[in-house]
């Protein structure tokens, strides 16, 4: 074997290693299932038909005994370069239409995707902020809401120096239905501007 041939073999081997690393860390379908779901899948498949149970058991073995241990080997590289290979892009749309609203002294100044209430809309829509806006609008107890609320209150103080109260609330409606209802809200009042706890409301 010449040096050039040896280099070709080494290059191909490197491709196999890299391609395998990408595959085991982001195996389509398997990366989505938890250990528990995988075990439950075997049980459910077995109840439907024995051959299906055997097939599922093989898949579970591959996933639990081979793929996951191999993926664990790659994790340090994944974490260092922050390149986790789980790409579940838009698995599903939301069930309902949620929006974040900001009211300053009782007047709506911002509502998600509402041109009439577009205070700092470009910032709210920025891709790095949008996930926090999303969770703040959808989950009353979201971990992220503290940061976005603090940011909103600070910006209101800048843009509306005489403001006395800020309400940050989530409104919800069904797809294809116009009238929204307020699900929960957070309030901050001058002079301390502490954001109060979430007030949940029942659907009218």
């Amino acid at each position: 074997m010449t040096r050039s041939e040896a280099r070709d073999h080494l290059r191909a081997l490197a491709v196999v290693v890299a391609a395998t690393a990408l595959l085991v860390t982001g195996f389509p379908g398997l990366d989505f299932a938890s250990r528990k779901e995988m075990r439950e899948g075997v049980s459910v498949a077995g109840r439907i038909a024995a051959p299906l149970g055997t097939l599922m058991a093989g898949v579970a073995w591959f996933d639990l005994e081979l793929r996951r241990p191999l993926a664990r080997l790659v994790r340090p590289v994944e974490r260092t370069f922050r390149v986790a290979q789980e790409f579940h892009l838009y698995r599903d749309g939301p069930r309902r239409v949620d929006r974040l609203e900001v009211l300053v002294d009782g007047e709506v100044v911002y509502r998600t995707r509402d041109a009439r209430h577009g205070w700092r809309a470009a910032q709210f829509g920025n891709r790095h902020l949008r996930p926090m806006v999303g969770t703040a609008a959808q989950k009353p107890d979201a971990v992220n809401q503290k940061g976005i609320c603090r940011w909103i209150v600070a910006r209101v103080q800048e843009d509306f120096p005489t403001a006395k109260e800020v309400v940050i609330r989530s409104s919800r409606t069904e797809f294809g239905v116009e009238a929204p209802w307020v699900r929960f809200s957070r309030v901050a009042r001058a002079p301390d501007w502490t954001v109060s706890r979430v007030r949940k409301m029942t659907r009218p």
Binding site: F32, F81, A122, G125
Partner: protein
């Protein structure tokens, strides 16, 4: 078995045009630069990339955030460093060191502000790491011009294979997880999933009231999305470019109907590799046509 391995070795070593990966090397960093500049323009970089105690947005940082000791402005220095590194990568100057430093810094920025580090960021970082092992830095590169080196016209196909493999895994993971989570992607009645996706005000650009009575286009687009994503393995075959047109349509559609920042632009960059069999000969013909007789 040995025959199969030899064919694979031959395929990885086969010299291919370096321009598709060079174009990818130029375009991906530009997306990152514009994205970071947009955050700066909006006055948000100082909010995203500062720790909570210094007025940042996120109450938590990733376990791998390693620069806390450098003070609250370490994230902002990283933003500057990434812009410089990405500019170097894109221009073709000191590409390999710039990729390593740039990707590490980009990763640290993600660890500092995890909610803002999205799939497209991970995709770009992975692709840049693959490009690190390619000859993309030896074509359309300022470094070659400054050093008076001849550009490398053809190089082993291995990195190109890996980029395509990576794309296939991204799409197939997205498609399979869609079907596992929500089989209604293939529904023919009810509320189309894609309608809910593109009219969700938190991510979509379309109004849910305006489009609520129109079902068929959303169903067709839902099926096309699944067909493309689950069938993405076709990108590894000779029908790649034709299938790639569906991908271009998908990303243009996402770009028109959703507000996902640089996602569509970033993903479309990969089509310089997918559609290389079309645009490379086209470019050559154009250059020959422009050459003096």
């Amino acid at each position: 078995m040995m025959g199969l391995w030899r064919r694979f070795v031959g395929s990885c070593s086969r010299p291919v045009d370096t321009r598709p990966l060079a174009a990818l090397r130029i375009l991906l960093p530009l997306c990152v630069i514009f994205d970071l500049l947009r955050s700066i323009q909006l006055g948000l970089a100082g909010v995203y990339y500062r720790p909570w105690d210094a007025g940042g947005l996120s109450t938590f940082v990733g376990d791998e955030w390693a620069l806390a000791g450098l003070g609250p402005d370490a994230g902002l220095w990283l933003v500057g460093l990434i812009i410089v590194c990405m500019a170097l990568v894109s221009s073709g100057l000191g590409v390999r060191p710039a990729i390593v430093v740039g990707v590490l810094a980009y990763a640290q920025l993600g660890h500092l502000y995890p909610p803002g580090d999205r799939a497209i960021d991970r995709i770009i970082r992975t692709a840049l790491l693959i490009l690190l092992f390619s000859q993309s830095h030896r074509r359309w590169a300022l470094g070659d011009r400054l050093l008076g080196r001849a550009p490398v016209a053809r190089a082993a196909a291995a990195p190109q294979h890996l980029i395509l493999w990576f794309l296939v895994l991204i799409y197939m993971a997205a498609g399979v997880s869609k079907l596992m989570q929500q089989p209604a992607w293939l529904a023919v009645s009810g509320t189309p999933v894609l309608y809910r996706v593109v009219t969700d005000p938190l991510a979509g650009a379309w109004d849910h009231m305006t489009w609520s009575r129109i079902g068929l286009p959303f169903f067709v687009a839902s099926w096309a999305t699944i067909i493309f994503e689950v069938g993405a393995f076709v990108l590894l075959t000779r029908w790649r470019r034709w299938f790639g047109l569906l991908g271009v349509g998908l990303h243009l559609g996402i770009g028109l109907t959703m507000h996902l920042g640089m996602f569509s632009a970033g993903m479309l960059c990969f089509y310089v590799v997918v559609l290389a069999e079309w645009w490379i000969p086209g470019l050559d013909r154009w250059r020959v046509g422009r050459a003096p007789p």
